[in-house]
């Protein structure tokens, strides 16, 4: 029990040493306040840094193109027509469709291959397992640019293998989803290996005794029980491919019918002598939409997977 005298001394101290000292004193006595303040500061920082670019795109999109100069924080004028003009100037939906399909194909390929690899790495103990994992990790550290020239020559039919010239894949989806898959596999393998390794052996044994093959046990028991991990790997792969610039830009000639993805669509609003920044901004915003929706849906899936996935044997 603090004496009355002690309390009086402390309050007079904080009075005499000003507001800041007083605030520190009360935070020490009541740390919840300090935590809450820190929470708000950090949250506002994140909100501003992540949302401001979107806001900035929106300002640019609704400002008529001839007025885009010396932009402030508010739009100059209001021209929502830009969001329609995006589609009339160029078949932007076509570019989006290309990106979407490429991301989808890549995700499916990556999930299947990474599931098989993750199953082996996560559930078998074999010689050279560590070395192989390390090799995959090392490959994932390669800069994609290092692959570009050889791959470009390969995909444009400039390399002869045993007297056969390589297939002409330039301007086809093959030139895109093959390098995409190869580059996003290592991360997916690592994620799935971790998740698959945590499934108790008994469940796989039970499935096999009940009548599945090893593969059947993988896809009927191990994969469903690792749903959060599979969703994570899928979302990361999808977003990475959807956002990819390097191969998307260089492996096709930029025409929508030749599987050019979004990056070519946005660049299409830039002519030789003029650039429609409002249309580029509007296209950017529209391009983000599918990913935003996907993440919202997937996040629900991930959270529900995490809460339902109480893996008691």
């Amino acid at each position: 029990m603090a004496s009355e005298g002690g309390t009086a001394t402390r309050s007079s101290d904080s009075d005499s040493q000003g507001g800041y000292e007083g605030w520190v004193q009360s935070s020490i006595q009541n740390p919840d306040r300090a935590y809450r303040a820190a929470f708000y500061v950090v949250m506002i920082f994140f909100l501003v840094t992540t949302l401001f670019p979107l806001y900035w795109l929106f300002i640019l999109a609704v400002t008529p193109n001839n007025m885009i100069s010396n932009m402030g924080l508010l739009p100059k004028g209001f021209n929502p027509g830009a969001f329609v003009e995006v589609f009339t100037t160029l078949p932007f939906h076509w570019y989006m469709f290309n990106s979407f399909i490429l991301a989808l194909i890549t995700t499916v390929i990556v999930l299947i291959l990474a599931s098989l690899a993750g199953y082996v790495f996560g559930r078998f103990d074999f010689k050279g397992r560590g070395a192989l994992m390390l090799l995959i990790l090392a490959i994932s550290y390669f800069p994609p640019a290092a692959f570009l020239l050889p791959l470009f020559r390969l995909f444009t039919g400039n390399i002869e293998i045993l007297g056969l010239s390589s297939p002409m894949l330039y301007n086809t989806p093959g030139a895109l989803f093959l390098p995409f898959s190869a580059l996003s596999l290592p991360l997916a393998i690592f994620i799935l290996t971790t998740f698959y390794a945590q499934i108790p052996d008994g469940l796989e044994d039970a499935a096999r005794v009940e009548g599945t093959t090893r593969l059947g046990a993988l896809f009927r028991v191990i994969v469903p029980l690792s749903a959060p991990g599979v969703a994570t790997a899928a979302v990361l792969t999808f977003i990475w491919v959807y956002n990819e610039f390097f191969f998307s830009f260089l492996m096709v000639d930029g025409q929508a019918k030749n599987w050019a993805p979004i990056v070519w669509g946005i660049l299409g609003y830039q002519g030789q002598y003029s650039a429609s920044y409002n249309l580029m901004a509007a296209a950017g915003l529209i391009g983000v939409l599918p990913i935003a929706i996907l993440v919202v849906i997937a996040q629900e899936k991930i959270v529900s997977g995490l809460t339902a996935g109480a893996l008691k044997e």
Partner: protein, 394 residues
């Protein structure tokens, strides 16, 4: 038909041999327990029957068919696991019908069989529950239902009751026996709990160090253990062992002698033997007069007394200098005896005991193999009395 035959089955890992040249024949409808201490190879043996582990050598036959290299799904076996291993993402119905759905059974047939299995294990009305909404006992029943619904040739049970609490374990033990009686399917049951093995099985296979030690009906394993390991493993508390030597008059050791004619048992003077006797076959000298063929009195001193309610365990010291070693009840210088609960005993009192010659086992110390399970046939024993401990000579 659900007979199982293991022929010369061996499983070697890089640095250890888990199962060493195992030969077991299990008949159709039999309930066989594989028992042994942890790491003795009993689970590996079962996994090789299930097909989850492939033997390095030897063959496995199930129902007259060689299945050595078949995957588990084609062997006609069902398994109940120690950790129960229900699929957490499926409800009870889906768990039970998993194997049937994989085999493309008709929906009606699946429903009929699942209902029947649920009835057998008393799970009616719980088919739409998820495993994590059920108690341990209920989950174990689902696992059993999942095993019986496919009507397999052989049930494999890998310590299915080990994760249940003591009361439920006894209850499920009874239920499993009832189930076996009703279904008449071959059961192979792995356990490290010898009480479970004794009560449930038609025959017990005792395994140690990857080798089969003995496979016989429970009482035979108890009364006629094939070797020192079986004698010590079966029975709780375990058998008393006294290491000693054969003389021309019988058995002698530092603390006690038992007279018999060595020639009757194929041993000769100088052989190193171990005498084994169970706690309930040792009697205080005064009550020992009631048994037909007691040995001579052995002078001891009581040490620790453990009243169990229905009986009292007494640790007897054969020599003054040594303390009771509770860690190793089979240590040579002490005897553990069991007496009726109304016996009047105190710690540190002198006590003379006699052994029942009918129930004395002799083992070859070197090889561990049993030589004899009763010393009563010995003509030398009649009328003659064993001498007491070494101290009594002076």
């Amino acid at each position: 038909m659900g007979d199982v035959k293991l022929e010369n089955v061996t499983k070697r890992y890089e640095d250890v041999t888990a199962v060493d040249n195992m030969n077991i024949q299990i008949h159709d409808g039999e309930f066989v327990c594989l028992v042994g201490p942890s790491g003795c190879g009993k689970s590996t043996t079962m996994e090789m029957v299930a097909g989850l582990t492939m033997p390095t050598e030897g063959t496995v036959h199930i129902a007259g068919r060689e299945v050595t290299n078949l995957p588990p799904k084609d062997r006609g076996v069902a398994m109940v696991f120690q950790n129960i291993a229900l699929f957490p993402h499926m409800d009870v119905y889906d768990n039970i019908s998993f194997g049937l759905r994989l085999r493309n059974f008709e929906k009606d047939e699946i429903d009929r069989r699942v209902d029947k299995a649920a009835e057998v294990v008393q799970l009616e009305g719980m088919l739409d529950r998820m495993p994590d909404e059920m108690s341990g006992g209920q989950r174990q029943r689902v696992a059993i239902a999942r095993a019986i619904v496919r009507q397999p040739d052989v049930f494999l049970m890998d310590e299915p009751l080990a994760n249940l609490d003591a009361k439920l374990r006894v209850h499920m033990r009874t239920e499993l026996q009832r189930l076996h009686k009703d279904l008449e399917t071959t059961v192979i049951y792995v356990t490290h709990d010898q009480a479970e093995a004794m009560t449930m099985s038609d025959r017990i296979a005792i395994i140690d160090g990857g080798q089969l030690q003995q496979i016989d009906p429970p009482l035979e394993c108890y009364n006629q253990p094939a070797n020192l390991f079986v004698a010590g493993f079966i029975g709780s508390p375990s058998m008393n062992f006294v290491e000693g030597e054969v003389t021309e008059n019988g058995f002698t050791s530092e603390y006690m002698d038992v007279e018999f004619d060595p020639s009757n048992y194929g041993v000769s003077a100088g052989d190193k033997v171990t005498l084994g006797v169970r706690p309930e076959d040792i009697y205080p000298a005064e009550s020992g007069r009631s048994i037909s063929s007691p040995t001579g009195e052995i002078r001891t001193k009581t040490d620790v007394i453990e009243p169990m309610g229905d009986e009292i365990f007494i640790y007897l010291l054969l020599s003054e200098e040594v303390e009771t070693d509770l860690e190793d009840p089979a240590a040579s210088n002490q005897l553990l005896i069991s007496v009726p609960p109304d016996s009047d005993v105190e710690e540190d009192q002198d006590m003379s005991v006699v052994l029942d010659r009918n129930k004395i086992h002799l083992f070859d110390t070197e090889s561990g193999q049993a030589i004899e399970h009763s010393l009563v046939a010995s003509p030398a024993a009649s009328g003659a009395s064993g001498t007491s401990g070494a101290e009594s000579d002076d």
